[in-house]
């Protein structure tokens, strides 16, 4: 099983390094280009939320750990952080997607994109850490 770990500081300058990490993961798992982009977007959106809401706005600082595991039929990416507990999977689909741009509230799109870009998106809070798991099937069926 192919696997890799990376620890980055919980700030927005880490976004690019994590996108490159996810690119290596999808390359290693043989995920096609379009679905690789969507997974990269999913992880990037959740990491940005962690940095902005979990750390900065909460007056906290810390690292974010990321790992990937290429399994037989799927790729799993795990993010761990010590920001305030937040479960993005409880974030409903934004109700304003059909609204005129002038009338839209800003926000909520990142979590929506994260859910759209994965076959499974799981959250748990364990040992005082947020743990977000992104799963993409290696074969494109069912997505």
């Amino acid at each position: 099983m192919d696997t890799e770990n990376l620890t980055v500081p919980g700030n927005l300058d880490s976004l690019k390094a994590v996108r490159e990490f996810v690119k290596r993961a999808t390359g290693s798992a043989g995920i096609d280009k379009q679905r690789a982009y969507k997974l990269t977007l999913a992880v990037d959106e959740i990491l940005a939320n962690i940095v902005i809401h979990g750390y900065d706005e909460a007056g906290r600082s810390g690292d974010v750990e990321i790992s990937y595991h290429v399994e037989e039929d799927r790729l799993r990416v795990d993010l761990y952080d010590c920001g305030i507990p937040y479960d993005p999977t409880q974030n409903d689909t934004p109700a304003h997607l059909d609204k005129q741009l002038e009338d839209r509230p800003i926000g909520g799109l990142g979590v929506y994109l994260a859910r759209q870009g994965t076959d499974d998106f799981i959250y748990e809070f364990v040992n005082d850490r947020n743990h977000n798991t992104f799963i993409v099937n290696r074969a494109a069926n069912g997505s």
Binding site: L12, L15, R19, L41, E45, K99, L101, Y112
Partner: protein
């Protein structure tokens, strides 16, 4: 990420170069809003943006509001398939005029 601005046939064109993410979208937004104060027709050349997160969507939303608020038009030129997909999924795409190239976009706005 960098933004180069110029004028093609009297139409303002801003070329965004590089990934747009949570670390730089606010800076891009402030540059484009400054430009938006001086024009009612704006072409954003997106052909050199290979990645854009929702922070970029917020930047586009702010640009749209600034220009559409005074009866103008924002056109997005050269969107990649990935960027188009994100914008379509979030309902943003239908609000913008689009074109394959800057020159085509300038022609549409003239």
């Amino acid at each position: 990420m960098e933004i180069e601005t110029n004028s093609v046939d009297g139409i303002a064109v801003a070329t965004i170069i590089g990934d747009i993410d949570g670390s730089n979208a606010a800076a891009a937004q402030s540059q484009i809003l400054t430009l938006a104060q001086t024009c009612t027709k704006l072409v954003l050349d997106m052909s050199r943006v290979s990645y854009m997160s929702s922070a970029g969507l917020r930047m586009l939303l702010a640009s749209y509001r600034a220009i559409a608020g005074k009866g103008g038009t924002v056109l997005l030129a050269g969107l990649s398939e990935d960027l188009s997909d994100t914008m379509s999924l979030t309902g943003f795409l239908s609000f913008f005029k689009t074109s394959a190239t800057v020159l085509e976009g300038v022609g549409l706005l003239k």
